[in-house]
């Protein structure tokens, strides 16, 4: 077997296109996970058991079942009840929903880390519940959560190759198409894997930068 550079040169633009799709899925999926995670965390703290218990159950269920099967569910089952999504959108929703169950735990820890005196002070100042959350608790809880959130950005990116199963055009899907014509899997699979690996390292480097910049609480 020989390593064919010309073959790699031919497929590289296609693979890079795939990587761009993968990065789009990562970024939008992660934004979704950050927003939904906060919603889950707040709902789980609700004093009404009718809200907190079912939300808690759903979150635990999503977290302990495989993303891949959830993707199949979103992409193949939801159209039957009239919710049609393109493969990429289904992938983004799946990633966002799955990782929201992780980020909600991060927010929970961040909220628990706010000293009780802050709650008491908000009560003493007669702030409304909404004001307490938006002006006192969350501005302290969210920066605390950033370092751990960064870890989940990398984790989410590493799950993007699973979108191959619902035909999103990420690098492995591209590699499969290339292989179907060339019958030379070694270079294609290796390059797709390497692209993911390099991108993961770059992302984790930026994650560390963001953490250093925003990860401290300023009072």
């Amino acid at each position: 077997m020989s390593w064919d550079w010309a073959y790699i040169g031919d497929m590289m633009p296609l693979l890079l296109d795939g990587l761009r799709t993968a990065l789009i899925a990562t970024v939008i999926g992660f934004v979704l996970a950050m927003v939904l995670g906060l919603v889950f965390a707040l709902l789980r703290r609700s004093k009404t058991a009718w809200i907190s218990v079912p939300v808690g159950f759903v979150v635990e269920f999503i977290r302990s079942t495989p993303l891949l099967v959830q993707l199949f569910f979103l992409f193949y089952v939801l159209p039957q009840i009239g919710i049609e999504m393109s493969a990429l959108v289904a992938g983004i929703v799946g990633l966002g929903l799955h990782y929201a169950t992780y980020t909600s735990e991060v927010y929970r820890a961040g909220i628990d880390g706010v000293p009780p005196g802050q709650w008491e002070a908000a009560t003493a100042l007669n702030l409304s519940t909404r004001r307490t959350w938006t002006s006192v608790i969350l501005p302290q809880a969210i920066p605390r959560s950033i370092p751990a959130l960064g870890n989940y950005l990398i984790a989410l990116f590493k799950d993007v190759p699973q979108l191959v199963a619902i035909t999103v055009a990420e690098p492995f899907t591209v590699a499969r198409e290339v292989i179907a014509e060339s019958f030379k899997p070694f270079e294609a699979i290796t390059m797709a894997g390497l692209l993911y690996l390099i991108a993961a390292f770059v992302l984790s480097y930026f994650g560390r930068l963001v953490e250093r910049r925003y990860g401290t609480v300023r009072v």
């Binding site: 302990s64 495989p66 891949l68 199949f72 089952v77 799950d159 699973q162 070694f186 894997g193």
Partner: protein
């Protein structure tokens, strides 16, 4: 559902269990080797541990599985698919486990090291008889998270045609076209397996805590009973 379909699901669940347990065994091995290497006094071992952890935490299970199943045969090594899956899972989870092992060993109070030194234990004795038995107790709770991650990751190897639960579910679906019941059923089966693994790991955790003379956290039942007594 026909008998053949139930058979497929049962076989798939069995393969998933094998993948999870085999992956866990390999992961435990790699985790201990990697974690011990990372706290070693020998610089080159520390470097190897570091590279192992950084590389395999960065490489997704799917990427590894793809590579083992489709690329490695080109180099002349053909792995049994199930074993290729276990290896991909084990290498990946082992990198996370190595960090757990490192953290747990470093969390053993330094007075324990000093006591072992004062008693003239060799390095090997110190690790085997003093440090590791205490560190293991601290490892079990994070390991139980890891094993749930491993169970979930085992579904990923369906993509390289290993006939575990998800793959067989897809087969049934392509036969009968009932996406909702097949994929909903798969989710429930994975959910049940995750609950069983969590309960088993919790029992192990209590066992381990008792074995080094620590009071384990009260279980859910005991907590509920105590609460009932207080309110009565």
């Amino acid at each position: 559902m026909s008998g053949a379909q139930i058979g497929l699901l049962a076989f798939g669940a069995w393969q998933t269990l094998l993948l999870t347990l085999g992956g866990a065994a390999l992961g435990l091995l790699f985790g201990f080797l990697g974690g011990l290497a990372r706290v070693s006094d020998v610089k080159i071992l520390r470097a190897i541990g570091f590279v192992y952890v950084e590389f395999f935490r960065g490489a997704a299970v799917l990427v590894l599985a793809f590579w083992f199943v489709y690329a490695l045969p080109m180099l002349g090594w053909q792995l049994e698919p199930l074993f290729a899956g276990m290896l991909a899972l084990g290498l990946n989870i082992g990198a996370y486990a190595a960090e757990v092992v490192r953290g747990a060993i470093q969390s053993v109070p330094s007075s324990q090291y000093e006591a072992a030194l004062a008693l003239n234990f060799t390095t090997g004795q110190r690790m085997r008889r003093v440090v590791v038995p205490q560190a293991v107790v601290a490892m079990i709770p994070p390991f139980s998270n890891n094993i749930i991650e491993l169970l979930k990751a085992s579904a990923v190897v369906a993509v390289v045609s290993i006939s575990e639960l998800t793959f067989n579910g897809q087969l049934i679906w392509s036969g009968n076209g009932r996406a909702a019941s097949v994929f909903g059923g798969l989710l429930i089966m994975y959910g049940i397996m995750a609950v069983v693994f969590t309960i088993l790991m919790r029992l192990l955790e209590r066992r381990a805590a008792l074995s080094v003379g620590r009071q384990p956290d009260p279980g859910m039942w005991k907590r509920m009973r105590r609460r009932a007594e207080v309110s009565a």
